[in-house]
């Protein structure tokens, strides 16, 4: 019992060490704070924003009302509160960001581990395919995919997921090669482990830290990509997203009419979330990779 307690104390201390290292990174903490705020707002949004406020026909505000009492960030072309829209848009942006990052990281990890494990011609073929996807302009590819499929949030997730994986695949492959060179892999093969056994039980747990850091960085990329696709009018027209708001603002002529409150809040939100994720990812990378930690 005391042994288990000891192990737990040690584990808690190790976690506390990571937390302290992360806390020492001011950029990472700032990013985390912004993310926590936005995440909380997105989760709690249904509590203080009712569906009417977001409806094109039921909204009560006037058209293009400048920021003032009742509407801290003004209203849009349909009399909806821009603040409500931005808060509601966080839900879609974060969902798409996370799911698309997950899809692309899963795909990239699968291809990276398989390419690194098998090497030889199968590995080469996989990496050439990866290169092909890497040089293909991701935006054009995503636009093409989003245009062919039905317009829905799922389409956006898939379009981002299948275009953003090459970086992950390369990083994971490199890490896989490093792990595969270690003697415990030889031991696993010697005890009769097959390919699946080696990849799942030995390589994957050892590449996961890299994958984790990669995921946080990819979320930022996915959110930017989602905003871009929505801005280009490829998003789901039935949902409110940051890119979608900016696109509506553009079609409503907000730029020429000087209706800044229609465009700037969603733009700032996109930038803030993407920046926060990047800063968190960098900080996490530094914490999980002791070599980076020392150099800082």
């Amino acid at each position: 019992m005391s042994r288990a307690a000891l192990a737990w104390t040690r584990r808690r201390r190790a976690l506390a060490g990571y937390a302290r290292a992360f806390a020492g990174n001011r950029g990472g903490m700032a990013g985390l704070a912004v993310l926590a705020l936005i995440g909380l707002a997105a989760l709690a949004a249904p509590l203080f924003i009712d569906a009417d406020a977001l409806s094109l026909t039921e909204a009560e505000g006037g058209r293009f009302q400048p920021p003032g009492p009742g509407y801290p960030l003004g209203t849009d072309a349909f009399g909806r509160s821009v603040l409500d829209l931005v808060v509601w848009g966080a839900r879609i942006s974060l969902t798409v960001g996370f799911l698309a990052a997950f899809v692309s990281v899963a795909l990239g990890t699968l291809i990276g581990v398989v390419a690194g494990h098998f090497g030889g011609w199968p590995g080469n073929v996989l990496m050439r395919v990866t290169d092909w996807f890497a040089v293909l302009p991701a935006l054009v590819m995503a636009v093409a995919l989003a245009a062919v499929m039905t317009r829905s949030t799922l389409t956006i997730i898939i379009a981002i997921g299948v275009t953003a994986w090459p970086t992950t695949a390369r990083v994971v492959r490199a890490q896989t090669l490093a792990v595969e060179a270690r003697p415990f892999i030889e031991r696993a093969r010697a005890l009769g482990g097959g390919h699946a056994h080696v990849m799942l039980r030995h390589v994957l747990p050892n590449v996961l830290p890299v994958v984790l850091a990669q995921t946080t960085l990819l979320v930022a990329e996915a959110i930017l990509m989602e905003a871009t696709l929505a801005f280009l009018g490829l998003g789901d027209p039935g949902t409110v997203s940051w890119g979608g708001i900016i696109q509506e603002a553009r079609t409503a002529g907000a730029i020429s009419s000087g209706i800044w409150w229609y465009m700037i809040p969603p733009g700032v939100a996109i930038a803030a979330v993407a920046l926060s994720f990047t800063m968190c990812g960098r900080a996490l990378e530094g914490v999980l990779n002791p070599r980076l930690r020392e150099r800082r």
Binding site: P183, F184, E186, R189, G192, R201
Partner: protein, 363 residues
């Protein structure tokens, strides 16, 4: 003992012709094993025609400097070499040729037929998995054991190697070097193999722990009729643990014989140099003047003509550059590959049956 009955964990069925074969009296038979690596457009020979046998329950030590092919031989026995290696010859494990095995059968034979205690236990354990899970790994891979059953077996194995049962929950970094090697030994015993290949099992351990580990291996192996192939550069360790000793140089066995005889009075100058390199307890003369052997083993890509040990040999003769000596009887149960032991009339041409020279003296 019937080998199939001996290995209840073997998942794949024995091939159909196994019953037709006469019961193997040797658990390992290596015949003319050669390994070469493809590198830089050429083929570099790492092992050049190694033959030896291992009877059930016997212990053979393989000695030699780094780079003489010891570990390559060990890995070739279970076909664990990288893809750039080309293997030829025969490796019969319980009468079955490992080099011709299909992939599934090979996987079944690995660990269940022969397991390996690797050098550097520190790196042979996965740092992110608990020790108990890793010891259970071969049990689960080779089917049979349910997780709960495997767990109780792990506890039993840990006890056998002298580790407390709660160590099962530890991660490798929480164990000392000796404890890790004990865990590796427990893992090697897990599937009750007939043969254990110990590849420098005591490297990087301090002398006290080395002695403990060697004693442990000896006890476990002797107690269950497991044969062992132990590889080391330390002739004194091998002489103490093994029944027979083979000395390797430049990819060949240059001397073979009963362990204490080879250690005490090697017939090949290289064997003599290896045994002289370790000071002997109780012999002040050797302690005051430990002798090393100057020079390095030859580059396998550019072996010297004649005897490959010629450039470093303290007893080099003129004919050494003309004759490439093969293993030749050098006393009862002993062979050596040196012109000094070749009969004078045979010295300019290879004797008949050169590859199986070791067998002619076997009886």
């Amino acid at each position: 003992m019937n080998p199939t009955e001996h290995r209840p964990d073997t998942p794949a069925p024995e091939p159909a012709d196994a019953a037709d074969r006469p019961g193997p009296d040797r658990c390992l038979e290596v015949d003319g094993l050669s390994v070469s690596y493809r590198a830089g457009g050429g083929e570099i020979p790492a092992v050049r025609g190694v033959s030896f046998d291992l009877e059930p329950g016997s212990k053979l030590g393989v000695a030699g400097e780094s780079g003489c092919g010891k570990s390559t031989v060990a890995l070739a026995l279970l076909r664990l070499l990288p893809r750039s290696a080309r293997i030829s010859g025969r490796v019969l494990l319980d009468g079955e040729d490992v080099l011709d095995m299909r992939w599934g059968r090979l996987r079944a034979v690995r660990w269940a037929g022969a397991s390996i205690v690797f050098q550097g236990a520190m790196h042979s354990l996965n740092p992110v998995q608990r020790v108990g899970d890793q010891i259970a790994e071969p049990l689960l891979v080779h089917g049979g054991a349910a997780p709960a059953q495997a767990r109780s077996q792990v506890v039993e194995l840990l006890e056998q190697v002298g580790l407390p049962a709660w160590r099962e929950r530890s991660y490798p970094h929480e164990l000392s070097g000796g404890q890790r090697q004990r865990a590796m030994i427990a893992m090697a015993l897990a599937c009750r193999p007939r043969l254990i290949i110990a590849d420098e099992p005591t490297t990087a351990l301090d002398v006290m722990i080395q002695a403990q580990i060697l004693r442990l291996i000896d006890e476990l192996v002797t107690g269950r009729d497991i044969s062992m192939l132990m590889i080391s550069h330390d002739l004194s360790v091998l002489a103490e643990t093994c029944d027979r000793l083979a000395v390797m140089y430049a990819g060949r066995i240059v001397e073979e014989g009963p362990a204490d005889e080879v250690f005490a009075a090697a017939r090949h100058p290289y064997g003599a140099a290896l045994s002289a390199a370790f000071p002997r307890v109780g012999d002040p003369a050797s302690r005051r003047a430990p002798r090393g052997l100057p020079g390095d083993p030859p580059d396998p890509a550019e072996l010297p003509s004649g005897c490959s040990f010629r450039p470093r040999c303290p007893e080099v003769q003129e004919r050494c550059s003309e004759v490439d000596p093969v293993l030749w009887p050098a006393g009862p149960g002993r062979t050596a590959a040196c012109v000094q032991v070749l009969p004078p009339e045979q010295d300019t041409r290879p004797p008949p049956g050169r590859d199986r020279a070791s067998e002619t003296t076997g009886e």
